[in-house]
């Protein structure tokens, strides 16, 4: 892997956010003075205090579930002949996968090696990306509120199954890279 990608991977988010944040702070300071900047920082601190209890509980829950679950064990139900059931299993496995992209994408390779087909893998990644429980509980409920999160979850929970069904019909062959 090129070192630039390795560096970007590790710190990309932090660098991008810091750059945007600094530019925004300077712009706000020029427009409305240092008082407005301080006030915005106070708002941010307020929001953090509001999120902190959910954040801690969500991380504890994710840490505990990681010891209890292993989505890879479900791969034998995700083969090309597994039909809708396989897509459903893949979606649920994705939803239960804790952690960020550094955990989820390598797991796709594990699942592919254990027999999951491309439809199930697409369903798995979308299940994780759309409705991964850790993101829902740690970030979405505290930040966007339980009402919005519940509505979005109910509206999109079935979508990975549909996308997996579609992916089985799209004529792009995919072999896991070695």
């Amino acid at each position: 892997m090129p070192p630039v990608i390795a560096l970007l991977r590790r710190h990309a988010s932090l660098m991008v956010i810091a750059a945007i944040g600094t530019a925004a702070a300077v712009a706000l300071w020029q427009k409305r003075g240092s008082g407005a900047v301080l006030e915005a920082l106070l708002h941010a601190w307020d929001l953090f205090l509001f999120i902190a209890p959910s954040l801690l509980a969500g991380l504890l829950l994710a840490g505990a579930l990681r010891q209890l679950l292993s989505p890879g064990a479900l791969a034998r139900w995700m083969g090309a002949e597994s039909g809708w059931f396989g897509l459903l299993v893949a979606t649920v496995a994705g939803t239960l996968t804790p952690g960020g992209p550094m955990a989820a994408f390598p797991l796709v390779l594990v699942l592919a090696g254990a027999g999951a087909d491309r439809g199930a893998l697409v369903a798995y990644i979308l299940g994780w990306g759309l409705n991964g429980f850790q993101r829902l509980l740690v970030y979405e409920v505290p930040l966007l509120g339980p009402e919005f999160t519940a509505m979005r979850f109910l509206l999109t929970a079935w979508m990975p199954v549909l996308a997996g069904w579609g992916a089985r019909r799209i004529p792009i062959a995919w072999e896991p890279p070695r």
């Binding site: 959910s54 505290p142 509120g145």
Partner: protein, 171 residues
């Protein structure tokens, strides 16, 4: 603490209980992983929350109401879905920005499309993870299979909003 937080702590306690039934080691591992996650997340929060707060102050109060406001309909949903793909990072960046947009007048269906578009089209994640780990063929397959879903999510959210009003943000 509100109801959602109590529920979350209850779930965490139950899961930790199951860990404890398997012995001391899983409990210690779960605690250690929680600590590691916190160490990774806190620096991100330390920059992401102020960034979102500054942006929320800079964006004029009705800036979002035209393009992605509640009355913007399908075009606003499409704009939201595409904008979601360009969000520059994980949930700790995207969700505070969604709050800032909502404050500036963005509609709930449009923000549903944005969050769904971020989850499905998210370009930063494709560049840093999906392409290097799984290759462009997988990226193409998944993008094609998921292409209409963020728009669909926005349309469904609009239909739900017509029946049950849904609010976004702190209860």
């Amino acid at each position: 603490m509100n109801g959602a937080q109590i529920f979350l702590w209850l779930l965490a306690a139950i899961a930790m209980g199951f860990c404890a039934r398997r012995g001391a080691l899983p409990v210690r591992r779960a605690m250690a992983e929680t600590g590691q996650s916190l160490a990774k997340i806190l620096p991100l929060f330390a920059v992401a929350l102020p960034m979102a707060a500054f942006l929320a102050e800079l964006i004029p109060a009705d800036a979002a109401s035209g393009w992605i406001g509640p009355e913007s309909g399908l075009s606003g949903i499409a704009v939201g879905a595409v904008a979601g793909g360009f969000m520059p990072g994980g949930p700790f960046v995207t969700f505070p920005l969604v709050i800032a947009f909502a404050k500036a007048g963005a509609g709930v269906p449009q923000m549903t499309a944005l969050v769904t578009g971020w989850a499905i089209y998210g370009i930063h994640r494709i560049i840093t993870w999906e392409y290097p780990v799984l290759g462009w063929r997988f990226v193409a397959l998944r993008m094609l299979a998921g292409l209409p879903l963020p728009i669909l999510a926005g349309i469904l959210a609009e239909a739900v909003g017509a029946v049950v009003p849904v609010t976004l943000g702190r209860p």
